[in-house]
Amino acid sequence: MAVASGRKYSVLRRPTVATGWWGWFVTVDHKRIGILYGITSVLFFLLGGIEAITLRLQLSNPENALVSPDVFSQLFTMHALTMIFLAIMPLSVAFFNIVIPLQIGARDVAFPRLNALSYWVYLFGGLLLNAGWLVGRAPGSGWFAYSPLTSTAFDVAGGMDFYVLGLLMLGTSSMAGAFNFIVTIINMRAPGMTLMRMPVFTWMTLVTSFLLVTAMPVITVALIELGFDRFVGTNFFNPTMGGDPVLWQHLFWVFGHPEVYILILPAMGIVSEVLPTFSKKPLFGYPFIVLSGVFIGFMGWTVWSHHMFTVGLGPVANATFAVTTVLIAVPTGVKIFNWLGTLWRGSIEFNTAMLFALGFVILFIIGGLSGVTHAAVPADAQQQDTYYIVAHLHYVLFGGSIFGLFAGIYYWFPKVTGRLMNEKLGKLNFWLLFIGMNLTFAPMHWVGLDGMPRRIYTYDSAMGWDFWNLFSTVGSWVILLGVLVFLHNIMRSLRKGEVAGNDPWDGRTLEWSIPSPPPEYNFAEIPTVSGRDAFWSEKYVENEDGIPIPIKKRPSSGGKDTNDIHMPGLSYFPFVTALGMAICFFGVLIHISVIVIGLVVMLFGIYGWAFEPADPEPESGSH
């Protein structure tokens, strides 16, 4: 090719040293990227938690003056954005990264460098979104950002700049990641693993990824229009110049409702792995669980206006969306009943991972049922924008997503680290979170129907909400305690945890067939899959009554020479490209010259990336 002087690399040699702190910057190993995602998202989870604790403290008493009204708006806006985009979504992605290649019998994802880019863009996007705090103007118009409150006329402080730019970066990261997992799951499954033999977590990752690549462009369009309104002075959403604020709401919720399923489907996937493992039974009604997940994904596109029942779309539109909304309860119910079927006549072991999965089911049922009460438009007219909605969404996202993700952490921690998490601390962790979340959020159902609106920083004692608000605040401290126990458990188990071995849970899927932590290449020999529960069927045969009988000779993967396994090389360029992109986005808020510098760095990164050789050059290589 046109590469001059016969060099096989473009600008930099591929890095060769994968160890030490530097190794994290150049890694393309899906497991290490998964760990980066995991740690970063837990740190953001703590930040979002501190914001929540502060909100609860402000509301613990009527007419409290802990924070100013504007700081309060910034706190509730950033709490939502942080928990959704910086904690739950990337923690799910951490599991996609760590688990998917292992479950489908692959050695890495389809595009390892793109995977690294996704992480770095996520990190920088999260920092950009939070950078507003440093200059005292974090986004404060609500995470839903209803125009015209987001226009420069009403967002005088300018915090929504960080919203527009931060979310655009995070969207890029999500899109790249989602494409990567779609291609990985479609193309890189081990021989014999047909779609209907895939583990359910892999299935839900696939559905979530399709939702991401279809939903993210919608919010991207909306954000670019909002950005133009703010930075250039266009009038997409400006009603005084013929723009329409309701257009923003449609765009936002056309993205926003699929987003809800982006947050919950991975957790449902985790629960569908944990329940069978600790019931010692296969997942009941596998095809129905899979298809109901796909159906939920599709239906996610047909219900966005149920967030807009009080906007004035008219009775016909409202009735239509009420019907599509209650329909979603059907596939959700199918999942729940099949989980019950999985437990039925099983041998249920109540360890921490299982407790979190069961906690998910119980709490999600409550959140789902209160969701049906919002589908009834006239009843929702009383509930909309009250604490009743806050209660509902936290039963779904905390009781649902977060509990599902905690189940995943306790379940796969031994695979990632080679050590088991402490069960005593784990159970304490579970019960504190379970009790704390109910203390915090259950009273909000009542307070909301008692007329307390959302997003108010102060209320009168005469309203009668004092007691339950204080109650919720105390509940939030129990949650905090639970999270502290969790952190302690992680730190302790990393050092002193019991050694896990390959298969601590007597697992059913392929990730348990390899060492913990897995070697870089995952599988010394790519397995051949002959059914669902691919690993279980290597360990057990069923007798005529369907009772599993252990196979005496355990399959061994030893003996194969692993030196000639070809793994993707390390690379500087994902980090460089993401850094360039971050400089560029920060530049929008600083000066045009910074944008240019960012573009140059980004182009350098892309160029180097494109012409990088597949393998590191030996030092004596041609020059």
């Binding site: 409150l149 009403f154 296969p282 009941f284 009775p315 059907v330 009843a379 008692d450 108010i456 009772i547």
Partner: protein, 351 residues
Amino acid sequence: MLHNLTKLRPVLLLLLVPVLLTTACFPSHPQSTFEAAGPVAEAQLKLFYIIFWAAVFVFVVVNGAFIYAFIKYRRRANEAHLPKQTHGHTVLEITWTIAPMIILAIITVPTITTIFYTAEPPPGKTLELKVIAHQWWWEFEYPDLGITTANELHVPVGMAIDVSLESKDVIHSFWIPKLAGKMDLVPGHINTMWFQADRAGEFYGLCAEFCGTAHAQMRFMVHAEKQSDFDAWVESIKATPGEMTGLAAKGKDLFVNKGFDGTLRGEKVTAQRCAFCHTVEGLPIRGAVGPVLTHVGGRETIGAGIIDNSAGNLKAWLTNPDKMKPGVGMPTLSIADDELDALVAYLEGLQ
């Protein structure tokens, strides 16, 4: 069996606690949606109860089945072998797809009829009301009666109020929990809703959509009264305030003519006259930025429903409105003490 029940007794007692707490904390609260006082709120509450009890039924059955499974199928130390590996059951799948569909279809029928019932006022005599939302106060116009007021709404009992809703700035939401659920006020759109009060009394209203700094303090009062009382109120609002004397007359002069200096959200402002922003009928100039004050002396609250209307509170408000209502659009003006007394006397005189 009996023995089992005895063992369960503490659990059952524990289950009673939330029930008792809820009952104990079910007193009359100003914004409770459980105390519907008009047909719209009643229809909304009735629909809520239908779904609530259906949800309670599903909750008890499904979570009960889960808890039964937890207890019955927990792993025991002496299990002889692993459980039978069952993979599914088609009849069950069909059953638990159809059963929820039936329940949902049943609740969809009253949902849709209530949607259409609450959308339009019933045929018959109605009173038209135009609500215009501002950051952070309410303008109420009665087009049929030719009157405009702010932050305090008077309606006749038993009459359907046909409401149209607009916003001057950002999105707000109009909500009177005991009379009707919310409807948003969207700039560039005109929304409609209706409500009716079936008994006389005072009802709390508020903005329910986050609308900026003072969103929490954008409230209003609804006075539902007998037709004769309402008519009397309309007449009093139509009347131009009478001549002021003494201190109040001085206050009127200050209100119209004196330019005060001060600050608004950290920026210096100069020569601000009250009448530039506020309308009082009968004065030579009409302000259009702040609430109409023609009969402010007769209102029960000031600051958009946030505090009782008294001489002391009025004085505190005029001294530093931003302290009582952070973010408010009214500047903090340097008004001398005697001027304050005069202004308060004038405002109280506007009956």
